[in-house]
Structure formats: C-alpha cells, structure tokens
Amino acid sequence: MTGAESTSLLAEPMLPVPYLVAGRAAETHDCVTLRLEPARDSLPPFQPGQFTMLAVPGVGEVAISISGDPAAQDGTLTHTIRAVGAVSTALHNASVGTPLGVRGPFGTTWDLASATGRDLVIVAGGVGLAPLRPVMLGALADRGSYRRVCLIAGARTPAEFLFRSELAAWSRRPGIEVELTVDQPAADWDGQVGFVTEPLARLPVDPARTTAFLCGPEPMLRFAAQVLQRKGILAGDIRVSLERNMQCGIGLCGHCQFGPILVCRDGPVVSYALAGPLLTIREL
C-alpha cells in the first residue's frame, strides 16, 4: 500500500483519535511496550512497517512505529517506545489509563505479501527490532507462505534486547533461524558477540530468492546492505525502514524530506535501490 492510499483511508488525518493506555510492559531500562485501546472509535487497521503519530496532551506529538501483531483485529495498537526526548519520555512514563491522541496509521509497509515463496532475511539493530516485530509475527502466522525465515538481531548488551521472551520462544521454534548477537557481552551471556554484519556474513543465502528487511541505525543499514549485496542480493530485494523528523505524517509539512522523498508519505519502508544512494549523501 502506498502512502497516498493509506492516507486516503483516513477522513481526518490531522485529527488525533482518543486512545487509552491499556497495558504497559518494560522492555529495557529505557524502552516500554504500550498497548493502546480506543476510547471510542478506532483507527483503520495497520500494515507491518507503518507508524502512527502519538500525542501526549500538553507535551507534544511524535512518530512511533507500530510493533504489534498485524492479525489483531480488536482495534488496539501496540507501540514500543524508547525514552529519548520530551514526548517519548512522557509516553515511556505513561501509566495504564493515561489518555493519548493517535493519528494514522501512516506510511508505506514492509509489503510482506510480495515476498511470498521467498526466503526472508530480517536484520534488526537495537530498537530497530520494534518495527520488524510485525514482520516476524506476520511471517510466523503464515509460515507456509515463505521458505526460510531468518532473524538476525543485534543489541548493545544482552539486557537491551527488546521482546526477550518472544525472541527466546522464536529461537526454540522449528523452521525459524534466530541469530542474536551483542556488542558487549555480560558475564552470563553465552551467545554471539559481534556486530550484526558478522552472523549475516556467515548466513548462506539463495540470493535470487531472498528478500531482506532491515531496520536499525543508518550506518547499520548501509553495512548490512553491503554484506547482502556482496552475497548477490539485489538492492531492489532489500527493504529498509528510514527514520526522519516526521511531524504531519501525511506529506504536507516537509520536515521529513529526504532527497526526492518525504519519508512519512513515501517511507518509512523503501527499497535500498532508492535509499542506498541517498544514505551516502552527507547533506541529507
């Protein structure tokens, strides 16, 4: 679905819809996952990769990727939020029952359906795992539609992995390859130590039948895409999620302009064939 199509689903895209915090789960020392329930009307269903604009009354509004299960049809929304600025810290600290305003869902999707019959290589760095969780959940819910499903996730330390119990469950599940690696191991960590590009470089792939999904800091996107391209995977088969200063969410204000695209409308998920050249331009 393009940004324009998703936006057309919304009658009043600039009007926040009231939601309440219905659940709050701490992920790491500075990340929480919030489950939001509509106070009255719910927003249209989301697709993996999309984001919403979350507003804390009296504080402000910020773009947050949706980290929930795309199969959930109960009107709830799930977001995983790292406390960084004033708004994200207010969201991080929001307790159950807190009223929030929500606009969206906005933006392009990971378009998982177009990877049917192919190998999925999913590479996440740090909090970049949050926008990729719906891809994992979507792929696992329809496991027979894909050949391999391989997740490579990196974190700064073992304690900074998001969704730790879910990662452990996925690791035990047959038919899924999960490679976790940390930059800095803890004393009790017996897993891999290294940057995500290292397990990625070790991964045998069938380049003509692989679609890759990358989310994380931009240098990580570049390094991981380079490894994939060295393996023979085309830039057009690599999808990345971009992060910019998104404010209106519907391509009006221009704050998220990234070269020829507006990330809120034409992204956040774009092909590396488009993003790759742009990510090397300093002024962008």
């Binding site: 500075d30 790292r82 406390a83 960084v84 760095g125 740090g126 909090v127 990196g154 974190a155 700064r156 900074e160 690696t181 930059d183 191991p185 004393a187 960590w189 017996d190 897993g191 891999q192 130590v193 290294g194 940057f195 590009t197 290292e198 397990p199 470089a201 070790r202 045998p204 994380g216 800091p217 240098p219 990580m220 390094f223």
Partner: protein, 156 residues
C-alpha cells in the same frame, strides 16, 4: 580435487586460490572437533594452527583482572580462526574456546609457512586470502566501536 581441497575452495576465504594452491593448503589440512568448553589456545602462548570453522561457535577471549575471561568476539561457520602464526612474535594475542560443539578444518601452519617461504607467489596469495578475512573482521569491529545502538541520551 581432494575432499579437503573442495571444502576449502567452497569456504569463501580460500576461493581465490588456484586448484594447485588449494591442493597445497589441503595437504596441510585435517578435520578436528572440539567439545563445548574446550580451549583451542590461550593468550600469550606460541601461535600454531589456523582453523576454518565448519560448524559451531568459538569465542575469542582474554583475561581481564577482576572480570575473568572476557569474550571479545565469537566466530562461526565459514570464519577463519587464528592468524598470529603468520607474523612475529608468533604468539596468540587472544585466547579461543569452543562455546558449543565445533567442527573445523585445522591447517598445519608450520607447513604452510614453509610452503609460503619456498614459493612467495603462493605465500602472497595465501596472505591475501587471510588479509581479506582480517579486513572484514576489522570492519565489523569498527562498526561495533561506533556503539550505534546507544541511546542519544547516553552522553560520553
């Protein structure tokens, strides 16, 4: 080509070697297996041997007073372990221990050094192959040095 030669050719790291050179390397190769927890070598000891990991996981570590053996990196399928045998002072700078049952192809590095000394062209090709692995390892380490996943609020 022998079974070892074919295995080495498919490893990536030695894919640049000619069939003749692969046979030279494979003559110095033997399959080995390490149990979980088994130490391959200790930091500061004479460096002999080079391993092409087929399966499993090996940790590079070193002793840090007060912290014990600290793992700095793990290696797995397709990775080359050990290049201190190539350069003076021929001592391991880090230790290596198998974290899980690990199979590997072990290369007799005394023999490889002799062959390289006798045939500098072979030595050059072999060194380039190891250098390629070394550069990839360095690039990944540099990426890790960037501490990309840290919060913008973590000031240094």
């Amino acid at each position: 080509m022998t079974e070892h030669g074919a295995q080495l050719a498919g490893s990536g790291i030695f894919s640049g070697l000619s069939a003749e050179e692969l046979e030279l390397v494979s003559a110095a190769a033997r399959p080995v297996w390490f149990g979980a927890g088994e130490r391959l070598f200790l930091e500061g000891t004479p460096a002999r041997g080079c391993w092409l990991i087929q399966d499993g996981c090996v940790a590079l570590d070193l002793l840090v007073p007060g912290r014990g053996q600290v793992v700095v990196q793990t290696l797995g399928y397709g990775d080359v372990l050990g290049w201190s045998w190539l350069l003076p002072p021929y001592q391991w700078h880090f230790g290596a221990v198998a974290l899980r049952p690990t199979t590997a192809t072990e290369l007799d590095t005394d023999l490889l050094r002799t062959l390289a000394d006798q045939d500098p062209r072979f030595g050059y090709t072999l060194t380039l192959s190891l250098f390629q692995a070394c550069v990839q390892r360095l690039q990944a380490t540099r990426a890790r040095l960037l501490d990309l996943y840290r919060s913008p609020n973590d000031r240094r």
